[in-house]
């Protein structure tokens, strides 16, 4: 069993080293590269800590999408002005920070051994009523469904904030036949695996967020290859795309209120089906929102609606 602690030490050392590199590398471009590597090693850490859902999400969202966004915004960020703060200030803040971090590390280690709280035991006991056999999906979409609904609202508010800002990034795609070929291989595969991830979410690691993120990465590939031939997403369908996830979630949540039950209390026998329904709608919306978050602006000039004349009488 000694071998595992060696591996653990290696992984932790690698994670800390990449974090330091991503924070203190001289040039911005290097930092982004180190950050993407950091995201991938963290995905391996989640796998080591028996959290496959998070490994998927970290690889796709943490390293993939966030990395792609950072790379795309590198071109309009001037490199950092090189005037480091006074030597004393830097040493002082580093020392003070170091002491605080050491204190936090000692306190965290004093928390062990961790024992299961009441909610954890309740999750395993009542797993069968949740309608799905994978515990993480059960917690996400049944026991703590309110968190997930608010999280969709967070994504929606970010997407709306971005849509109101300005035009989206121009696709810098030099439609070379090579990238075309790559996209022709990757995009169908990504869409296929998104569907697979969505379906698998009920009984194994996967689910709406990972599937939505995979779809968004397919959109990133399309944006990079600069395919103009694709049908333009109309304003109304863009709005519908953003809405279908949260709206369906709220609607399914409100139904139980009609016969006196609590909000989001799915009938036990229908729970599995309802969760699949919510997840597929959420996947579509998440894919749309994450693509907009990557594009950094609205694809249509007169978002949110085509006005006949701007001063349309109310």
């Amino acid at each position: 069993m000694m071998i595992w602690s060696v591996i653990d030490i290696l992984i932790c050392a690698l994670v800390v080293a990449l974090a330091m590199a991503a924070l203190y590398a001289p040039a911005l471009r290097q930092r982004v590269m180190f950050f993407i590597a950091f995201g991938l090693v963290v995905a391996i850490t989640w796998a080591r800590l028996h959290a496959p859902d998070l490994a998927l999400a970290e690889a796709i969202i943490g390293a993939g999408l966030t990395g792609a966004m950072l790379l795309m915004s590198l071109d309009h960020t001037s490199d950092m002005p090189r005037e480091p703060a006074s030597y004393g200030l830097r040493i002082g803040s580093a020392a003070m920070g170091g002491v605080l971090i050491l204190g936090l590390m000692m306190i965290v280690s004093s928390l062990y051994p961790i024992h299961d709280g009441a909610p954890t035991l309740a999750v395993s006991q009542r797993q069968v009523e949740s309608g799905v056999s994978h515990p993480v999906t059960a917690v996400l979409l049944n026991f703590r469904a309110w968190d997930t609904l608010l999280e969709l609202a967070v994504l929606l508010s970010a997407a709306l904030g971005i849509l109101n800002l300005g035009p989206a990034r121009r696709s810098c795609g030099h439609a070379a036949s090579l990238t075309d070929g790559l996209a022709r291989v990757l995009v169908p595969l990504l869409i296929l695996s998104a569907g697979y991830l969505l379906w698998k979410g009920a009984f194994a690691p996967g689910g709406a967020f990972q599937a939505g993120a995979v779809l968004a990465s397919a959109a990133v590939v399309i944006h990079l290859t600069g395919w103009e031939k694709l049908p333009r997403v109309g304003l109304r369908s863009l709005r519908l795309l953003l809405l279908v996830g949260p709206t369906l979630f709220v609607a399914v949540g409100l139904l139980p209120l009609l016969n006196g039950q609590a909000f989001l209390q799915y009938p036990v026998e229908l729970a599995g089906l309802l969760i699949l329904l919510i997840e597929s709608a959420a996947m579509v919306s998440i894919a749309g929102m994450l693509t907009l978050v990557y594009l950094g602006g609205h694809p249509h000039a007169n978002w949110p609606i085509e006005l006949v004349n701007p001063k349309e009488p109310m």
Binding site: R31, F38, M80, G97, M105, A138, V293
Partner: protein, 102 residues
């Protein structure tokens, strides 16, 4: 064998601290977004290592759901910040004189 989650929790606390300190430094926005994301991963690392129950037992699913929510929230916030900065870079450097009434 119970020691390994403690190692990850302590690493998580270390990364959380380092990331937070770096995010307070006055640098290009991109660097601060990277710092905040790294600090977020630090907290998630602490959460997941609190959930780890060793090789044989299944881990506690609740922190995994929390961290999944955290990852998605982090990418939403980073995306909004990057879009704001892109817009700032696009706006003409001179102060637009049109007053704030739309």
């Amino acid at each position: 064998m119970g020691s390994s989650p403690l190692l990850y929790a302590v690493t998580g606390a270390l990364i959380f601290g380092i990331g937070l300190l770096a995010s307070l430094r006055d640098e290009a926005l991109l660097a601060r977004i990277i710092a905040i994301n790294i600090s977020g991963v630090g907290v998630f690392l602490m959460l997941v290592s609190f959930a780890y129950r060793g090789f044989e037992l299944a881990p506690d699913p609740i922190p995994h759901a929390l961290v999944l929510t955290g990852i998605v929230v982090a990418v939403a916030a980073s995306g909004l910040a990057l879009a704001l900065e892109k817009r700032l870079a696009e706006l003409p450097k001179s102060k637009t004189h049109k007053e704030d009434s739309p």
